[in-house]
């Protein structure tokens, strides 16, 4: 086990992975609560076009990624949370931007490795500068989530009621998508645009099956995201296979296990209750 931290790239991977897991676990709760899982997924894909475009322009791909996810996030937020057909609109934009991404890849010869890293993550290639940038972005995202926590929870549970109580629901919807855009950009470094669900959505989706207390659900989501990241990195270190595979597989296996155990547990509770009344 001591071998793990002998290498600088593993230390950086654990540092960045830890920051990102905390952010992803926290924002994921609101993604699940607001039914915005598809929007989160779309943001990362739209970001892919930005990242590849940035490379064509000889810029840092993260800059392009952030610009596109932020732009898309604000646009999706402005569409509103309850609008019928929102997912269709998002999907149409998503398909077009992925097409742009393909164009940008073809414009930049010898780009396959970097495109691969964007799609599937490259947490083992994180520099100490990247860790600092991730930490700053992570702190900003967490502070932003804490700052909007109560009104965001309120408008996620009942938008009409929140609006009547004076909560600026549209501004919050845009603000939330902007925070999510930053979180997605961070998480892309670990799992890549294609696998973003595993870190942002899956831990929170599992957490809300355990508890209906918002703060506790966020806590469980963070713990799960941390566990998937840490175990995924550890297993990957001792195996020839990619980290992203282990992180996503751990997330998936946990979700499946919870879905299998849940009805059994519910039946047991019911049986006990029936026995008690009989």
């Amino acid at each position: 086990m001591g071998d793990l931290f002998r290498y600088e790239f593993m230390v950086h991977a654990f540092e960045a992975g830890t920051i990102i897991a905390i952010v992803a676990g926290a924002i994921g709760y609101f993604v699940v609560l607001r039914g915005s899982a598809f929007a989160a997924h779309a943001l990362s894909h739209i970001g892919f076009a930005g990242a590849t475009g940035a490379v064509v322009l000889a810029l840092n791909p993260i800059v392009g990624l952030l610009a596109f996810t932020l732009g898309a996030g604000v646009a999706i937020g402005a569409l509103g949370n309850r609008l019928r057909g929102r997912d269709v609109t998002i999907g149409i934009v998503l398909a077009w931007t992925l097409g742009l991404g393909v164009l940008f890849i073809s414009l930049y010869r010898g780009y396959a490795t970097e495109a691969y890293a964007l799609l599937f993550g490259e947490i083992l290639g994180i520099s100490s500068t990247d860790v600092v940038v991730t930490l700053v972005a992570g702190v900003i995202t967490l502070v932003a989530i804490i700052a909007v926590y109560r009104p965001l929870l309120f408008s996620s549970v009942d938008e009409n009621l929140a609006a009547a109580r004076g909560v600026p629901v549209t501004a919050l919807s845009i603000g939330f998508m902007a925070i999510l855009a930053v979180a997605v950009t961070e998480a892309v470094q670990v799992v890549g645009v294609l696998l973003i669900f595993a870190l942002i959505v899956t831990p929170a989706a599992i957490a809300v099956r355990f508890t209906s207390r918002p703060a506790l659900a966020i806590g469980i989501g963070i713990v799960l995201a941390l566990a998937f990241t840490w175990f995924g990195l550890t297993i990957a270190f001792y195996s020839p296979h990619p980290v992203s595979f282990f992180i996503t597989s751990l997330a998936f296996a946990t979700y499946v296990a919870v879905r299998i155990v849940e009805p059994i547990r519910a039946r047991a509770t019911k049986a006990t209750a029936q026995k008690a009344t009989a």
């Binding site: 009104p151 508890t211 918002p214």
Partner: protein, 265 residues
């Protein structure tokens, strides 16, 4: 109790853009009274609610709520919106939802005053007899249980006016009666002014002081037995409206719905 009405309207008109929903409404809602707002679908009942909440400005005329201009987020109004029932997948504890009525509109997280907030939440849940299921997932509760927690959320901020937009529409007859009884009891105990939008006046008849009718672009207010008569409603809406009463005292209003669905007929 003061003599000042809880809500007063003078020459009030409401609409969106150039379209008027109803015009020239004059009424005063007595403080501490229970008023049913009735009228066909689309007649502008919820528009009145939006005016009281300060979410919509009057197209003309004046409205005062507790002696002030209506303003968004007024803590003196407890509100239950129309069509509020929660998705079964929504995983939020009833108690946490009621807590949003305390400080859900404030930025940040609750740091100070936690004990006070928790006591207020528990008391509000107790006052609607929801203690038994307040710690369960809101999305998995029955319609009646959800309505009680919505009411607890509206009451937790200690309002003076309770504004309930169709709180009975998703309930069966038995639940409707117990819900109205509960609202009436709580209102009397706390001296609240209640405005309740309903489709059917029958579950309310024993409890209400006044009826505010919204139909065909006009508002009319009065005591239930004065206003819900064939003569009175026909005069107000200058068209034949019939009020039928059955052997158990239930009333049925016939004529208003048809006029609204064929406004030029």
């Amino acid at each position: 109790m003061t003599d000042q009405p809880a809500i007063a309207a003078r020459g009030l008109s409401a609409g969106y853009g150039s379209r008027r929903i109803w015009t020239d409404a004059n009424f005063a809602i007595e403080a501490g009274s229970f008023t049913a707002i009735l009228g066909p679908n689309g007649s502008g009942k919820s528009t009145l609610v939006r005016l009281i909440l300060g979410l919509l400005a009057p197209a003309a005329g004046h409205i005062e709520v507790l002696g002030e201009q209506p303003r968004r987020g007024n803590p003196r109004i407890g509100y239950v919106p129309q069509g509020s029932y929660f998705d079964p997948e929504l995983s939020v504890r009833g108690r946490d939802f009621v807590g949003l009525g305390v400080d859900g509109h404030r930025w940040g997280v609750r740091i100070t005053g936690t004990a006070k907030a928790n006591a207020a939440i528990a008391a509000s849940i107790q006052s609607v007899d929801a203690t038994g299921y307040a710690d369960r997932n809101l999305g998995r509760l029955s319609g009646g249980e959800q309505q009680r927690l919505l009411l607890a959320q509206a009451l937790v901020g200690v309002p003076e006016i309770l504004l309930l937009d169709e709180p009975l529409s998703n309930l069966d007859v038995r639940n409707q009666q117990s819900m109205v009884q509960l609202i009436s009891d709580v209102a009397r105990r706390r001296q609240l002014t209640v405005l309740l939008i309903a489709h059917d006046v029958n579950p309310l008849l024993k409890h209400i002081d006044h009826v505010l009718y919204v139909a065909q672009g006009r508002l009319a207010m009065g005591k239930p037995d004065e206003i819900i008569t064939s003569e009175s409603l026909s005069r107000i809406y200058s068209s034949p409206v019939e009020v039928l009463r059955d052997s158990q005292g239930r009333v049925f209003v016939v004529g208003l719905e048809e006029e609204v669905s064929h406004p030029h007929g």
